[in-house]
Point group: C2
Chain length 437, copies 2
């Protein structure tokens, strides 16, 4: 992409309304613009990141055997009356009347809707287990939306729903999601720690929040150091096999958010305990027959009976992750994108646009990188070098490739790694082979 | 995908509520389920088609130099008060009050929102032209929603908006979209005819509807036969070049929808005139400074003045297209997907699941096709052969590959082209090389 024809309205000034670093940087880097309180438009650079996050989530859900569907944003209130939640849900639910005065709502979540779809389609235990997910915009009318996309009103979420014939099956489904979540966040360059969460009236221990570590995270978290040493991506995961040992390995160590942590009863010695800041980005939950019973979602069992299905739900905040990743990865100059979610792999800077040698060399590099399938943002604008460097640091592209008149005379370009600041002079060919890999 | 673990709730009965063939077939093929009047959930098979359509639209928009953004579904009413449309828009607009009693709405279209984004970002003619598009769910509260996804209330639309410094620039932007639309529909296997549409108070001739031909289309259309002979995909299009000759070639012939057609004044002789049925799937429109003037979206011009930008908008009904393609391509047995939008490329039928020879041969073909990147739906269920054939015809996968015990004894499998019914016995290797091609 040539910056001269792109739509990247970066800001020099830090917007006054932004209280946290991800919100400030997303506005400054031209990723988002506010539409109204807690509601944002995603500009081209931000949308590229959002789509990369979405893709990783989708790939890991598919790998775990889930099937993608897409439910609408507007739901009928009657569906929520079946489960009893229409009256229970507070003012966070956006309630709507259509032109025929029918009660509708903008879905804050989809348990009722997926249960309705499933009960109309599946009648036998033979068609279980199933796990259906969708990636769709939700609305929660927060009383005081803030922190940009980290706590917006309209937000993009992946929510999955599992259907099993009994608790044992539901536990296996839960384990698959547990492992898929670890893999998903690891692929985004994040350190995620599962933390036991409340199960409320459902009871049991099948509820975990996934908290990623970030220096500027929203709350304090405490955990055993072993949890930071696990590498789930290195493990060879077979989703059809028994995942209990993996889940056991990740849950047997202490991990607690601020409100659960009790220094007095914490089993980890104080000098070993990891104290950090974290951001919740996912939540998995087994809720048994909470919706299937009142909504009549049952299957015939192997012995000929009929039984309500056992369900779980599994959420990942996709738009929230765009902010959370920045909280976990930035410096005073701007964003530092992990490679897997970066909007572009390479930022190509032409230090002297208009200079024939620079234009030719940079144009040639640009064409070759594109031809090799590398996503490049090419700053071909007529701007000062300092402004181009600052801009590229701000938007956080992982590699910066700098073409200038002095280097070209010696046959070299400069390659900088954004995360470390490491900088090398290389021949054009060496730089190319480094980036094309 | 193995059908035994997929989520594909096909229906044997034709749903009584469906009046048109695409609605009936989408319900029967397990593509969609109604949530409430005019609002649908997309099940896995339907979502695959929707995403393929979306991808073709996106690729052609990107090729034409547009930039993708994503605006939210919920907009503030104040934005529409700036343009004057909040009071003008009828009951089709879904009006909402949030918890603070602020007037909001579910966007039926996005002229105001994109103009707000643009006026805050671009100040100089040097940053023009630009074309920004998004693919987002819209809501129009139709009084009597019907025809399934062809006239739903919540629907997925691609809408693009061009920004130019003057009419001449806007005309070039319009031409790019004109050509991109022709290419987009052609890639979906559709015959699209641009037809001049009303421009209302804007005047001029820059408004075209794109109507695709379908035997069961919603309205009659009339056109010169030359329009059906053009092949836009064969042409080498350079979007930076002058597209006026291409647009001229497509607009100089007679083409009119039923309400515009006047047999008395039609310039095409009756024996040459093509009479067909059509479905509107796209609309492009130049609207000058209709929004930029009241909303203060202006740029400095080359001679130092300030001028409101000239705008156009360009819509494609993405969810509508899923239905429209079926209207254009089906028979009495079911859907016939064009290859480019088919949910799977190949339907693999194991005629005798449980038979070791059949299971081995079909499993092996399945693995090899997947390894070659071919998307396969493998019917590995324990069902009657007749039911498997009928099911595969219904969902309309372009190629059917049939593995049965009798053929295997002779070392052959059967390959059937859904569109023509042509059927050949081939060796396993020959079938593979035909499909992997």
């Amino acid at each position: 992409m040539r910056l001269s024809t792109y739509f990247l309205p970066t800001l020099k000034q830090t917007p006054a309304e932004a209280q946290i670093v991800s919100h400030r940087l997303m506005l400054r880097a031209g990723m988002i613009r506010q539409s109204s309180a807690g509601i944002y438009s995603w500009l081209p650079l931000g949308l590229r990141v959002l789509k990369r996050i979405e893709r990783i989530v989708r790939e890991e859900m598919d790998a775990a055997g889930c099937h993608e569907v897409l439910m609408p944003t507007i739901q009928p209130a009657d569906l929520w009356r079946e489960s009893g939640r229409y009256d229970d849900y507070g003012p966070e639910m956006l309630r709507i009347k259509d032109r025929h005065e029918r009660d509708m709502l903008y879905g804050p979540t989809n348990e009722e809707q997926i249960t309705e779809i499933f009960r109309g389609a599946v009648k036998s235990y033979r068609d279980l287990p199933r796990n259906l997910y969708h990636i769709q915009w939700k609305f929660r009318d927060e009383v005081r939306p803030r922190f940009g996309v980290m706590r917006g009103r309209e937000f993009l979420m992946k929510d999955a729903y599992s259907f099993d014939v009994d608790y044992a099956g539901a536990k296996r489904s839960y384990n698959r999601m547990f492992v898929a979540y670890l893999r998903t966040f690891a692929r985004m360059g994040l350190k995620a720690v599962p933390m036991r969460a409340d199960t409320g009236p459902i009871g049991g221990d099948l509820s975990h929040e996934f908290v990623i570590l970030a220096d500027t995270g929203e709350s304090a978290v405490y955990c055993h150091p072993a949890l930071l040493a696990h590498d789930v991506l290195a493990a060879d995961i077979d989703y059809r096999g028994d995942l209990e040992p993996v889940v056991e390995e990740w849950t047997r160590h202490y991990a607690a958010t601020d409100d659960k942590h009790d220094p007095g009863s914490c089993p980890v010695p104080a000098d070993e305990l990891v104290t950090a800041r974290g951001i919740e980005v996912g939540h998995i939950f087994y809720f048994a027959t909470k919706y299937s019973e009142p909504m009549g979602c049952a299957v015939t069992t192997a012995d000929g009976d009929s039984a309500p299905v056992h369900q779980g739900s599994y959420g990942i905040g996709i738009s929230r992750l765009a902010g959370a990743i920045i909280e976990a990865s930035h410096d005073e100059d701007g964003i530092i994108w992990p490679d897997s979610v970066a909007p572009f792999a390479v930022g190509l800077i032409n230090l002297k646009s208009g200079d024939p040698a620079c234009d030719t060399a940079a144009g040639d590099l640009y064409a070759k990188l594109l031809a090799a399938g590398v996503e490049v943002l090419y700053d071909d604008r007529d701007e000062r070098a300092g402004s181009k460097f600052a801009n590229m640091d701000l938007i956080g592209v992982p590699w910066q490739l700098v073409v200038g008149p002095r280097g070209l005379k010696q046959g070299v370009v400069e390659l900088k790694r954004r995360a470390t600041g490491e900088c090398h002079e290389l021949s054009v060919d060496a730089a190319l082979s480094r980036l094309v890999g």
